[in-house]
């Protein structure tokens, strides 16, 4: 009798599994649970420390190059880092080399600056999308305005208060590159190393291990990896957001999978040996 029931459970309609997964992933979006998030990883801490110790008024260049496909992991990272920069009263410039990310950048700056009473043009500036990243990166070394003479709204970049005293990489305190592509490698190789500008990265969980060597040599000052990295950064700036709810979702979903495959094996054992 028990065996029959278990047999039935064995061949459970998989739509129940789908429903469970949907609930487990969706619930934390509405109400983040705040499951224990063990430690802050070293590389995230370094990234945080680096921004945290910059003097107020320093200019930080954000290169946000991710499209909707990698958005779930990278968007929370970008939001958290922009928040941190605003909190520390840093000046923020945004560039991008991926056409698909312009809309996502718009989403960040539609809401975040208002929370810190920051004004477009005097506290931050968004530059238009440019193709051919490497060429642009090299050319910015001599004259920033040779490439970016206007901001996204068509205002003359030179006259914007936020750009006061910025001519080339020498005047930029650090570069933050958040990307699901090899853009971070370009920033490290063509700008970070050549013009000794500190670079901090944000990447997806899958590509994270590949950046180990850069961190070891100090070519990268810090690295945020995946949703977990975003959650850690959010906890460092004490602003839980999408990263925190995201890692809640992932935590629960992973546990669900483990529970499912364990159950199916336990049932298998019972059917076999009882």
């Amino acid at each position: 009798m028990l065996k029959e029931k278990l047999q039935k459970f064995f061949k459970i309609d998989r739509r129940w599994i789908f429903l469970l997964l949907a609930v487990v992933l969706f619930a934390p979006i509405i109400k983040p649970i705040g499951l224990p998030n063990k430690t802050i990883s070293r590389d995230v801490q370094h990234a945080f420390d680096y921004i945290d110790k910059l003097p107020a008024g320093s200019f930080v260049l954000f290169s946000l190059d991710y499209d909707p496909a990698t958005r779930p992991e990278l968007h929370p990272q970008a939001v958290a880092m922009v928040r941190h920069a605003f909190k520390k009263n840093l000046r923020v410039g945004v560039v991008t080399y991926i056409a698909g990310s312009t809309g996502l950048i718009g989403q960040i700056f539609a809401t975040v600056p208002a929370e810190y009473k920051k004004v477009n043009g005097s506290d931050y500036v968004i530059f238009p999308y440019m193709a051919n990243a490497v060429a642009v990166m090299t050319q910015m070394a001599s004259d920033f305005y040779g490439i970016y003479d206007k901001d996204q709204d068509g205002r003359d970049a030179r006259t914007l208060p936020v750009m006061q005293g910025i001519k080339n990489y020498k005047n930029i305190a650090m570069i933050v590159s958040i990307t699901g592509t090899s853009m971070l490698d370009y920033w490290v190789a063509y700008v970070g190393d050549k013009f000794s500008v500190p670079v901090v990265g944000g990447v997806t969980a899958i590509s994270q291990p590949g950046y180990g060597p850069y961190l070891q040599t100090g070519q990268l000052k810090g690295l945020i990896g995946g949703m977990k990295g975003a959650a850690e950064y959010e906890s460092l700036i004490k602003e839980p957001g999408k990263g925190t709810s995201g890692i809640d979702s992932l935590n629960l979903a992973h546990l669900l999978v483990l529970a499912l495959i364990l159950t199916s094996n336990i049932i298998l054992l019972i059917i076999k040996y009882l």
Binding site: A22, P68, A69, P72, E73, I206, S249, L250, V257
Partner: protein, 242 residues
């Protein structure tokens, strides 16, 4: 982009998302609509990519500038279209053969260098630093080499896997199993992140700003399935009575 367009976009995006997900419950007309729309949209997207990124700048512009070299690939490309006329379909071979020749010429040295020589080198290299390695690291390097040899044994086709051969190739299978399991487990998180992203979008579209797009569409789907289910049950009962 005006407010109306944003709201319209949210409704379309939320609707298409829910329609595609509804396939997980079961096949239904809404999924079919989304599926066919996607067929067209996918081809439309690539159509404009090809036109504006290849045919425009790489064929049309050179022709306007009297660079006649591009006529060769253009004719080779056009030859492919003769496939639709059975009598002269052999003309398309000219296009095919160019693609095949180029592809295989590229594949040989690339395969030799990245997947052959480099992989052998990668297996041997760690052991060149024997002097500064811990016993554990040495063991690991040897294990990789041993595993590679066993897996290659598994792929050996011209000997029957019997006796010692079978043992070795069986060990190879275990290495394959570890790789399969690890690669599977490694991908789970990326896939969950994607789904989380979709849900997050749906959540965004459920705001009053977007006139509760997600809730209304979801509710609509549930009502559809409920009515559909009831009607089907009714049908079945009617059949049973008859």
């Amino acid at each position: 982009m005006s407010e109306t367009w944003m709201i319209a976009g949210a409704w379309i995006a939320a609707g298409l998302t829910v329609f595609l997900f509804s396939f997980l419950y079961k096949d239904n007309p809404f999924f079919k609509i989304a599926e066919h729309l996607y067929l067209g949209a996918g081809m439309g997207w690539w159509f404009q990519v090809y036109v504006y990124n290849i045919l425009g700048p790489k064929v049309w512009t050179p022709l306007v500038n009297h660079d006649w070299m591009v006529l060769i690939p253009a004719i080779l490309g056009l030859s492919l279209v003769t496939q639709f006329v059975p009598k002269i379909s052999w003309v398309s071979r000219y296009g095919f053969t160019f693609l095949m020749g180029y592809g295989s010429g590229l594949a040989i040295p690339a395969g030799l260098s990245t997947d052959f020589i480099s992989q052998i080198g990668g297996t041997i290299r760690p052991l060149s630093m024997m002097a500064s390695m811990t016993p554990w690291a040495i063991f690991n390097s040897l294990l990789v080499a041993f595993g590679v040899i066993c897996v290659l044994f598994y792929f050996f086709f011209s000997v029957e896997h019997k006796g010692h051969f079978k043992k070795v190739s069986n060990i190879g299978v275990y290495f394959l199993m570890i790789y399969f399991g690890a690669a599977f487990g490694n991908t789970v998180m990326a896939r969950f992140s994607l789904l989380y992203g979709r849900f997050d979008d749906l959540y965004t579209f459920s705001a009053s700003k977007y006139l509760y797009a997600t809730q209304i569409i979801l509710a609509g789907m549930i009502i559809y399935f409920a009515i559909h289910g009831l009607m089907n049950r009714g049908k079945k009962q009617a059949e049973a009575v008859n």
